[in-house]
Amino acid sequence: MPAAAGGRASSAPIMGHDNEPTIFELSARGRTAASFRTTGVPEWDAEELVPSPHLRDEPAAIAEISERDLVAHFTRLTHRQYSVDLGAYPLGSCTMKYNPKLCDDAASLPGLTDVHPAAPAALTQGWMELLAELEQALCSITGMHAATLQPPAGAAGELTGLLLMRAWHAEHGGQRHKVVIPDSAHGTNPASVTLGGYETVTVPSDDRGLVDVAALRERLDDDVAGIMLTNPNTLGLFEEDIAEIAGAVHEVGGLLYYDGANLNAILGVTRPGDMGFDIVHMNLHKTFAVPHGGGGPGAGPVAVSERLAPYLPGPRPVLGDDGVYRWEQPAQSIGRVHSWHGNALALARAYSYILANGGDGLRRVAEAAVLNANWLRTRLRGIYDLPYDRPAMHEFVASTSALKKAKGLRALDVAKRLLEEGFHAPTVYFPLIVDEALMIEPTETESPQTLEALGDALERIAAGDAEDARHAPRTTPVGRVDEARAARQLIPTWDARE
């Protein structure tokens, strides 16, 4: 009998801390859970269907497992996984807000899930109306003119935006080579700049934590295609000089790109379009409650000002005077950036979230997000360093640099201890300009009681023993994980083990 670990809840921490075996260990030759529709189609042999040079003799080896063991395996894995539905997730820059169950229902309507993306417009008017209405709503929220929903994530939105920049400059005074980004920018920004065919020019932040406008002016010339900004920036601070910045960049013929990862902070309060931005991407999986799925799928629509609209990716759904939606390719479109129409079901989720909140609800979202962040910031004052202790927006950055000097308590250890306290950790060591950074974003869906509990836990940790913290976490499904070893002795698959 093949050795397989059997059906004990070996992984579920509900019963001890054993590992969950892989499906390959649970596999037993000859088993399957599969079951197919009876079709009555003639049952030709493989040899009659596929010529021999192509026909494999052995089917690819998959795990062989019963439905019962399959369900138990993955259910046990979920008991080894933290999630928003289990508790607070103050992961800075990620906007881990609660994802309403209503949107799960909306995105699983068969009339949305069972539609082929290549079906002609006449058969998909509902989807096209949904997408067109969502483009509209996102434009109102950002103060832009037109949008594409194709980019499947924020980084894809960034690259799309940079390609729009290229297309624009190509037809307006010729190509430029540099894109400016602040030193506090998220890593996807410079990475996208490179893929966009540009060279990254970094502008430092000043002691306020904002773009150093003087330094920026020094870097601006007619070879600058544009600037990418996050506002509020990754320190959670609003770029107060944004109007001046926009003026300066536009003066040299550059374009302003808005990284919408932090849009949650300003919903209904102010709009990138009004700040002078030309291109905006949004992370629907942050601001508009599309769940993160353990790392996606998300959606990263891009909205632009009127002058850039002709360059948008296509096709886009457009409502005709006859009340019928058709697919149209913008005149000077840069082309497709997705196999089909983007992460459609994620878009449907976001649309249902916008409908449920409405204009008033979205502003309340921003208000509560900013209120929570500032309440927690002041709660931590005197306990952690607050390198930029000024009114924050939806998030703020604390630091353990003093605690590290004093007793060796590192941001990483605070993060691991917080896991033991029952909370997910904040983002650590980002932005790079802050030493021992703890980037904390409570989001608007956490109650004041949750904030109090989180503040108390962070205070306990700061007051606690640093040496002890180095051994945290101990109450989690596994203890502190050896990341160095993973890279040193790479085991990327089950089959790669000796």
């Binding site: 003639p42 089917p59 980084a155 890279a487």
Partner: protein
Amino acid sequence: MGHYVPHTDAEIAQMLSSLGLSSLDELFETVPEALRLAGGLDLAPGLSEPDTLAAMERLADRNRRAGRDLVCFAGGGAYDHEVPATVRRVAFRSEFVTAYTPYQPEVAQGVLQALFEYQTLLCRLTGMEVANASLYDGASACVEAVNLAVAATGRQTVFLSNGVNPQWREVLHTYAAGTGHQYVACDLAGGLTRWPDAGEPAALLVQYPNYLGCLEDLAAARQLADRTGALLLVAFDPVAAGLLHSPGHFGADVVVGEGQPFGTPLSFGGPYLGMFTCRREHVRRLPGRLVGETVDADGRRAYVTTLRTREQDIRREKASSNVCTNQTLIAVAFAVQLAWLGTSGLRDLALRCARGTRYARDALLTIDGVEPLADAPIFREFAVTSPVPGDVLVERMADDGFLAGIPLGSEYGDRGLLVSVTERRTRDEIDAFVAAFEKVIR
């Protein structure tokens, strides 16, 4: 209004006063007056939850559903496969759905192990050694494959088969505007790619089976790659792994593809799954997340994202890719569906697709006026021409309750229709489809 903000007015007042503020507006004092949005957003007020769902149902009802309203014979990268209850109910448990990227491995072993299993399964399907934790879709997987090849070879030109999904090729060209990559379009003859016999390409990119459903000669492509010092990049249909040799068997360097066929409904095109696998020698150029096995402080087996120095958050402008959020949840569903199938189920699935396809193709070709668009051997999809243009055909057959297929662009000669048959199609459905087809082209 703001259903999902828990704060009561009393709590808001209390929190504000603890901040020394007297109104919520004062929270935004750092936003210059001039930029403040007067009069609020130009959006309708919020709807109640039942009203919201009703609004979404109205939209959903404006689509014709595959299955209930339309029997689906369309493929082209999006296939009408069964997604069983088991997969739906397990892969979408809220711990998987509402987690972030596993930055804290101690509390993310669920997602990490599921991804480790996904990576292993994907390598077994493709015959490769390393897989990443997913990319966006088939198109973006092709883009990243080309980026890897260009970085690995230092060459800019890629031989691109016209047998590759046209939309994916469109995306490749869109992104080439930024990277400056050059593509040499390689025509099809009899359904198979005719490669230039010389040149210094960074890579050959071919789809197996290709967009017309034909089985490309990967051995020949490998030889050309060897002759020219190029990498062989193959876009692969994972369902084919049940019957066809893997691209790895033919010596592919990078194997990518669209993972939708396993565990993901048609979903109007997304979220789908970009599969990415390669030989181990390229692992340091791998785009996106990679999960590896390691141990915890007590020596217990544990999983973690690794070789992170490739990634944008650390390597920034020199990163192997800009991808951050990917399609993890879809990768988990893929793994669950594949494990549900198992070894015999995968073969059975592939066989059923191939049988239905053969049956439908033979029947269609008995209709006079219907001709095969290519005569090369096929697997689960095929192209035909008929007196009626594909788009007209599709519109007309919709009235009979069929999504007849995908009209082919002029590059494949006009009047082409791409037809796909999955394991879900019954003989009766196929017979009715053929009858309707015959009626419509009369």
